[in-house]
């Protein structure tokens, strides 16, 4: 219950992806390897279903695939920095920063508060920029852990 939202092994600093599905999959594999997702294929299907409803590309080069899923054990964030960019359907071009948010299906509200706080931080340009500037995985994880505090 006290697992942090993100750790350094959930960050991919030089992600090379053919498309958004591929980028998402690589991040899912990180979550699965860390034991935060029990069934990578199942969770991937849930994320695809969400993505199909409405593209999650955000202004400022952000891709934000996410889902609530029974295959998620603990609320988690995986981050991929994609220098080459990958299209997430945002009007202003490809995403260079991809956040994969994984929420458990049956999470209680205290659990979900942390994800709400994360979503609120993502709106801030300064937060996104600090992640883009971060030199390595450990720094990305540190920034998220420091900045994302439930209201």
């Amino acid at each position: 219950m006290t697992s942090p939202l993100i750790t350094a092994d959930l960050v991919a600093v030089d992600l090379v992806a053919t498309d958004r599905d591929d980028a998402t999959r690589q991040l899912i594999d990180l979550l699965a390897a860390a034991g935060r997702v029990t069934d990578a294929d199942g969770f991937h299907a849930d994320v695809r279903a969400r993505e199909a409803q409405m593209a999650t590309g955000m202004p400022g080069g952000i891709g934000l695939p996410h889902a609530r899923s029974a295959h998620v054990t603990v609320p988690s964030l995986a981050v991929g920095k994609v220098p080459g960019g990958v299209d997430f359907g945002a009007p202003d071009g490809p995403a260079t920063l991809v956040f994969l948010i994984a929420a458990p299906d049956s999470g209680d509200s205290a659990h979900l508060q942390i994800l709400a706080a994360l979503a609120r931080r993502l709106v801030h340009e300064s937060f996104r920029q600090s992640l883009k500037d971060a030199p390595d995985a450990a720094t990305v994880a540190q920034i998220v852990t420091r900045e994302v505090v439930p209201a």
Binding site: M54, R68, I101, A103, S109, L112, L115, A116, A119, V123
Partner: protein, 503 residues
């Protein structure tokens, strides 16, 4: 400018909150106050009603149905969807400001019957209890109106179709006839159809009341035990007062069970199986075993006591029967008085002015008082009642005139002791007066539609009028003495809306 916004998205974990943050930021940047309610997966913290009342306009950045949208009725709004708020919050704020300027007002689709599902968690106990009650009442009112008016129409038609005894005959046609031999050209068949349909709608009154009180307390898990409890309350003859008990009982039991810490594997089936199952069982147990028996023996006791009384002072008996009719409006005590009167009608070889006929007249007149008096009160002192109650008041005229006491239940359920105290006094006065005037009645129901079957109809109507005025005066006095915070909040919102429209 002050704005309120509601955000939501399909998953409820990302866009809901990003939109909220973006709107708050963009609002601040443009010099406006923006308060956002995030209806997301983490549960939503409802906006303070005062903040809503003060808001100039509303932003819906919601991809899901906005919960409790009726809170925002009468305010200018923009409806943009969540994505637009995330991508272009400043544009959305500008659009909202423009909407306030041009005064595009949220449709007042139903401040009237709009269910008050909002319960402010920070309010005091008394206010919350009122809000729970009002939630149940506001969902019940359409059933009262639909069922009651159907039955009243059926009585009118029946008088046309059969003549004087129509209201009696219409109730005696078996349901099967309706399905096997309905004749479009037969006025009688139409009357039966309306009567039966209205009766079915009425069967929902107490379950809906109970179910939505429980819903207000426990949210969705409260619905099943609440409805079941309300139905059981009808079965054991506990009426709407029993329904109030089951509503609260079901709500708190469901709330309690839903807070259990359970193993992960069980969590998924809690809302669908475990909570409804256990809470319904508890409510059924309590109602059948613990509450059912005392009610049954109370009714038996009252009945035999009444039977022992008859033949003495008729005016006194009229006062007593009237008070009983007014007490619980279809509940056990009302039922004892009514059954006492109807059983008397069945006595063989009665004279035209037999005591039994007088008792029936007194009981029916008394049963008409409460809905009529509440209808009168909502007209005379509008400000003491919520929108929903005022709407119900309109239907209550017809229901009262047709001897459908249920028309007063929404008022009594929302504010039991003030309404019941005044109803007992007013109905009792009417019961006594009918006896004093020596009116008689040969039909068990029908209200003013059976006026031809009443001897001294003028006296009958005068007795009702006096009781109605007495009850309305008492209920107005009692309600004025202690204003209802819910009604005041509604009025503050109304005034705000008017000011907003003028500007």
């Amino acid at each position: 400018m002050k704005l309120v916004a509601v955000t939501s998205c399909p998953t409820g974990i990302a866009h809901t909150y990003m939109a909220a943050e973006a709107l708050e930021q963009a609002g601040r940047a443009a010099g406006h106050e923006v308060a956002v309610e995030t209806q997301g997966a983490a549960g939503s913290m409802p906006l303070d009603p005062r903040v809503i009342a003060e808001a100039d306009g509303v932003i819906y950045a919601a991809d899901l149905e906005v919960k409790d949208k009726d809170r925002f009725v009468g305010k200018p709004f923009v409806d943009v969807g969540v994505k637009k708020a995330v991508h272009d919050a400043p544009g959305v704020i500008a659009a909202a400001v423009a909407a306030v300027g041009s005064g595009v007002v949220a449709p007042a689709a139903g401040p009237a019957a709009a269910p008050v599902t909002k319960v402010d968690a920070n309010a005091g106990v008394g206010t919350r209890v009122r809000q729970w009650l009002m939630t149940g009442v506001s969902y019940m009112i359409p059933f009262v109106a639909a069922g009651g008016i159907l039955i009243a129409l059926s009585f009118m038609l029946a008088q046309l179709a059969w003549g004087d005894e129509g209201v009696v005959l219409v109730t005696e046609v078996p349901v099967d006839d309706l399905m096997t031999s309905f004749n479009v050209a037969s006025l009688q068949d139409w009357a039966v159809l309306l009567f039966r349909t209205g009766g079915v709608a009425f069967a929902f009154l107490v379950p809906v009341l109970s179910g939505f009180i429980a819903y207000a307390i426990a949210d969705r898990p409260g619905l099943v035990p609440g409805f079941v409890g309300g139905s059981v309350s009808m079965l054991v003859g506990a009426g709407f007062l029993g329904g109030l008990v089951t509503g609260f009982l079901a709500g708190f039991v469901a709330l309690w069970i839903s807070r259990w810490k359970v193993p992960k594997g069980v969590r998924g089936v809690m809302p669908v199986v475990v909570i409804p199952l256990l809470s319904s069982f508890v409510v059924g147990l309590v109602m059948f075993v613990i509450i059912g028996r005392p009610i049954a023996s109370l009714m038996d006791g009252l009945s035999s006591w009444l039977n022992g009384l008859s033949g003495n002072n008729l005016v006194l008996l009229g006062l007593l029967l009237g008070a009983m009719m007014g007490f619980d409006l279809g509940g056990p005590i009302n039922k004892v008085a009514y059954t006492f009167a109807v059983t008397g009608l069945a006595t063989e070889g009665l004279d035209a002015d037999a005591t039994q006929y007088k008792i029936m007249a007194a009981v029916m007149a008394a049963g008409m008082v409460a809905p009529l008096a509440m209808a009168l009160a909502t007209v005379v002192r509008k400000k003491l009642f919520t929108h929903a109650e005022r709407e119900n008041g309109k239907a209550a005229w017809l229901l009262g005139a047709s001897f459908i006491s249920e028309g007063a239940i929404p008022f009594a359920a929302a504010d039991p002791w003030r309404v019941i105290v005044s109803s007992v006094v007013g109905s009792s006065v009417t019961g006594g007066l009918v006896m004093a005037f020596g009116c008689t009645l040969r039909a068990p129901h029908g209200g003013i539609w059976v006026l031809p079957l009443i001897s001294n109809p003028l006296g009958f109507i005068l007795a009702i009028a006096v009781g109605v005025v007495v009850m309305a005066a008492i209920v107005i006095a009692l309600k004025s003495a202690k204003p209802n915070p819910l009604v005041e909040a509604e009025q503050a919102a109304d005034e705000q809306a008017l000011v907003g429209q003028a500007a």
